[in-house]
């Protein structure tokens, strides 16, 4: 029995059924199929919710070992595990016990710890962009020179101090965004969509197995 359950055909068949259940109702109006697709989507949500615990297990495993071995910076791991436990407990969906998203501890941690930390990480992107731009904006050859000129115009076009006195820069910047840039992006998007269809087709045919236990050759 266990040999049958380990057969590679089972996950492939499940993948094909799940794919078809999502694709067919998009084009064809069959209420029974739509209902089955909704049921499948709900099942996926339940699986995803369960998978969250897998994430927590991984965190506890990794940081637990670090604390046990007293590896470099192990005290940060205590903080991580402590906060995971506090957030998980205070966020439990039990409003009658004062827990859940309205819990004051949960709210305080979310508003005063998670949100500012996320905002800080996002804002340091500006410095990364600057250093990346410094590297990119070097006229080493023709292509790099085009990037340099276009990039400079785009930066100038977004600076009100300059566009106020030289409004034509904003027009050139808009033209670059609306024509060469948009055309290229659309080309990439069409190519990516075609690649995605080919990947879906390979998955439907059961020949794309990279996501299945390393190709399912075990």
């Amino acid at each position: 029995m266990s040999d049958v359950l380990r057969r590679i055909e089972i996950p492939i068949a499940l993948t094909i059924i799940a794919c078809l259940l999502q694709v067919i109702p998009y084009y064809v109006e069959i209420p029974a199929l739509e209902s089955a697709a909704n049921t499948a989507s709900n099942a996926v949500l339940i699986i995803v919710a369960c998978a969250t615990f897998v994430g927590v297990i991984s965190i506890v495993q990794v940081h637990g070992k670090r604390i046990q071995r007293q590896s470099e910076g192990w005290y940060y791991s205590i903080l991580v595990i402590g906060l995971v436990v506090i957030m998980a407990l205070t966020g439990l969906p039990l409003p009658e016990m004062g827990l859940g998203v309205n819990n004051s501890v949960y709210n305080w941690l979310f508003t005063n710890v998670q949100t500012p930390l996320g905002g800080t990480m996002y804002s340091i992107l500006a410095f990364f962009i600057t250093s990346a731009a410094f590297r990119a904006f070097r006229a080493r050859n023709l292509e790099a020179s085009i990037v340099l000129v276009a990039g400079t115009i785009m930066v100038m076009g977004n600076a009100p101090l300059l566009t106020n006195y030289m409004p034509f820069i904003a027009d050139i910047s808009l033209w670059i965004r609306s024509y060469p840039n948009l055309a290229t992006m659309r080309g990439v998007m069409i190519g990516a969509a075609l690649g995605s269809i080919a990947l879906a087709m390979r998955t439907l045919m059961g020949i794309e197995r990279g996501y299945l236990r390393g190709g399912g050759e075990e």
Partner: protein, 261 residues
């Protein structure tokens, strides 16, 4: 045709033609006719990056992106990233590189861990598999990126391979990799992030190239043939694009009406 949803019929026709052509080329390949595929330098460079990391005595980082497997546009990118992970795990074992796979999505973590573990078992070294090297970092975008950057600064990988769906963290990760001197191979189909990857990494897979990576790396005839079928879709897109430009220029909405069918 009442059961077909209005406004989606033309899309369905295009999908059937593209899928039909892919199926046709796959069948042809199974019969021995395999089309030639152009070299993709970014994918060819994976072996070089792994070798370089081993020579430097540094580990390898491989990320399949931060998306889940469910989203319509980013899910396939994660699948493509996992195909690359499979190859990287296999080759890392062959050349003796230490592999780290930071994960953002809890639902993808078991899949990634399973892929790496299977490669260890296939190599007859199942007991050496260490799940701690495939850590779930955080399901928060910037929690993940700060963790990833911290790991890179501590472990100082010789190669950083990132193929999948990335958003604002793309530049943070790639720029950190660049600062520590890692050879970087990146790829995404998220158009807004491609310029960042192009600027910072040594090799960048653009858009559809990431979907071809799995087929390209396995060198399996039917998978390679599916790429030729994909080209039929590209030809259709070019023809429709040209016809659209011409008809709209001459004041006709015939193609727009056809698309709205």
């Amino acid at each position: 045709m009442a059961f077909l949803i209005a406004g989606r019929i033309f899309g369905l026709l295009c999908l059937i033609v593209i899928m039909g052509s892919i199926a046709y080329y796959v069948r042809q390949a199974q019969g021995g006719k395999v089309p030639k595929v152009r070299r993709i330098p970014g994918i060819d460079a994976i072996d070089e990056a792994l070798g370089r990391a081993v020579e430097m005595g540094r580990p390898v980082f491989c990320s399949h992106g931060i998306a889940n497997l469910r989203a319509a546009t980013s899910g396939p990118q994660t699948l493509a990233g996992l195909s690359v992970l499979q190859y990287v795990a296999k080759q890392s074992l062959q050349v003796g590189a230490e592999l780290f796979v930071p994960v953002r999505q809890p639902e993808v973590w078991p899949v990634a861990a399973d892929i790496v573990e299977t490669e260890y078992k296939l190599a007859g070294r199942g007991d050496e598999f260490d799940p701690d090297k495939i850590p779930f970092l955080s399901n928060q975008q910037f929690g993940f990126s700060s963790n990833y950057m911290g790991m890179m600064m501590r472990e100082r990988p010789g190669a950083n391979i990132m193929v999948g769906a990335f958003w604002a963290e793309s530049l943070q990760l790639a720029e950190t990799g660049s600062r520590i001197g890692a050879m970087q191979i990146t790829g995404t189909a998220n158009t807004a992030q491609i310029p960042f990857f192009l600027v910072v990494s040594d090799y960048c897979l653009i858009g559809e190239e990431i979907y071809s990576a799995g087929a390209y790396l396995t060198n399996d005839a039917p998978l390679i043939a599916s790429l030729a079928g994909q080209d039929i879709g590209r030809i259709i897109a070019v023809i429709l694009g040209l016809l659209g430009a011409l008809t709209v220029t001459f004041g006709s909405n015939i193609l727009l009406d056809l698309f709205a069918m």
